[in-house]
Amino acid sequence: MTTFYGIPGGGHFWHWTTQIHFLLVALAGGFTLYTALLGMKNGSEGRKLAPWALLLIAADLFMLWAESPARFRFTQFWLFLGIHPKAAIWWGAWGLALSALLLLVIILQKQAGKYWYALLAVCSTIVVLYPGYALAANAARPLWDHLLLALFPATALLLALALLIAWRGEEAVRWLELTSWVSLLLALLLPAALASGGVDQARALALLLRRGLLFGLGTLLVLLAALTARRTPALAAACAFAGAWLIRGWLVAEGQHSLFTHGF
């Protein structure tokens, strides 16, 4: 039996506001990447989506600022000028900032060159990738398995595509179907990945099996999205959105659970 004198720092350090950020950053990254790829094919089509992508990035940055207990320092961009390549959030900060600047350039220019869109594709890819990296890099949090390096980008694209159906109709539906299957496969692989790990991963697997109802529900919704994408795109988009959000949200919330403080 374990008891404590004093309060160990094993509590949740991210709250519901961070959950909103994990949703918004997925939408912003995925939407911007789609905009960049579309712009490389057809500049005017890409330019139509650019304001919406910029709006999503602005919403995400605002959310980050609003939820930060260090709002004043958060606005001091020069704090990020050092080189910290091992810090996922450093990549994310630059990815978001440069994506916003590039989108602004694209909006202000009537016919932006394809190189602007190519640069945007690189920056937005970083935005799509960094949340998974930020979680998977923590060896101390076994639920945040390395598989999240693939699962988080996949669900980020799924969230963005669920939204993009409103703009890009059939084209987005095809990608939504494919991304749903990929996300589903990765979500189903997570228990297997944890089962093949060490003692801590086994505990994380037990946590997933014991308290993973929302994760399971999210996975089921993603399956529904994959199955209904062609026949009822609107329903599929709603299922994909809810499912991807549940999967990401549950992993972010439960992954913070400290096995060190509460497990040994």
């Binding site: 039996m1 374990t2 008891t3 404590f4 004198y5 004093g6 309060i7 160990p8 720092g9 094993g10 509590g11 350090f13 991210w14 961070t18 930060s68 207990p69 260090a70 709002r71 004043f72 320092r73 958060f74 704090l79 990020f80 050092g82 910290h84 091992k86 810090a87 996922a88 959030i89 450093w90 994310g92 900060a93 930020a134 979680l135 890099a137 923590n138 060896a139 101390a140 949090r141 913070q256 400290s258 060190f260 403080t261 040994f264």
Partner: protein, 194 residues
């Protein structure tokens, strides 16, 4: 330049929490948080039962995973091997809190990440950290690992058993636990279930 470390002799620790109280007072730790705390574990199987009082805090690791996780360079290791936070650079993103395998960091309501500093300000004045100074059983010893004559080296040399927390993490902690009561390490001994 030194390589500061601390040892805690668990055979002598009685779990009085004087160290935790001294830390709160010395460092003005906000209510609801602690830079150090005591874990009490009941170990063994009847009739071989024992109670372990284990103080826990930042271990000032040689390879601290919290430092590279910081996007602004607020978390850093100084030339004396102390892992510290430059509060004026901290954006309270929580990346270092997630990275720490020992849950040693917390979000200070003032808007930055907080943790044990081994009382850096006291060390600079040639004093021991507050927890070391206040310990009534003298189970805590602080000093320079690179100095062969230091008290910390002496304590390590005399110890029957030396353990560190979660060695599998590869962080090389500089807080050593001596003489675990179970004599089976920090995580191996079986806890009493209720």
């Amino acid at each position: 330049m030194a390589r500061y470390a601390m040892v805690i002799d668990l055979e002598s620790c009685v779990g009085c929490s004087a160290c935790a109280a001294a830390c709160v007072l010395e460092n003005e730790v906000p209510p609801g948080h602690n830079r150090l705390w005591i874990r009490q574990r009941e170990l063994g199987v009847f009739p071989e039962l024992t109670v372990e009082y284990r103080p826990e805090q930042c271990l000032h690791c040689e390879n601290p995973p919290c430092v590279p996780a910081c996007p602004t360079g607020a978390s850093y290791k100084n030339e004396d091997g102390l892992v510290l936070v430059k509060y004026e650079r901290c954006i309270a993103c929580g990346a270092c809190v997630a990275a720490c395998p020992y849950d040693a960091r917390f979000m200070n309501p003032a808007g930055y990440v907080d943790k044990c500093t081994f009382c850096e300000h006291r060390i600079a004045d040639g004093l021991d950290p507050a927890c070391v100074e206040t310990c009534p059983t003298g189970c805590r010893v602080f000093g320079d690992l690179d100095d062969p004559t230091s008290a910390v080296r002496e304590a390590l040399a005399k110890a029957g058993r030396i353990d560190v927390l979660r060695p599998e993490m590869g962080t090389e902690p500089k807080l050593f636990y001596l003489n675990t009561p179970s004599n089976r390490g920090l995580d191996e001994a079986e806890e009493v279930q209720q």
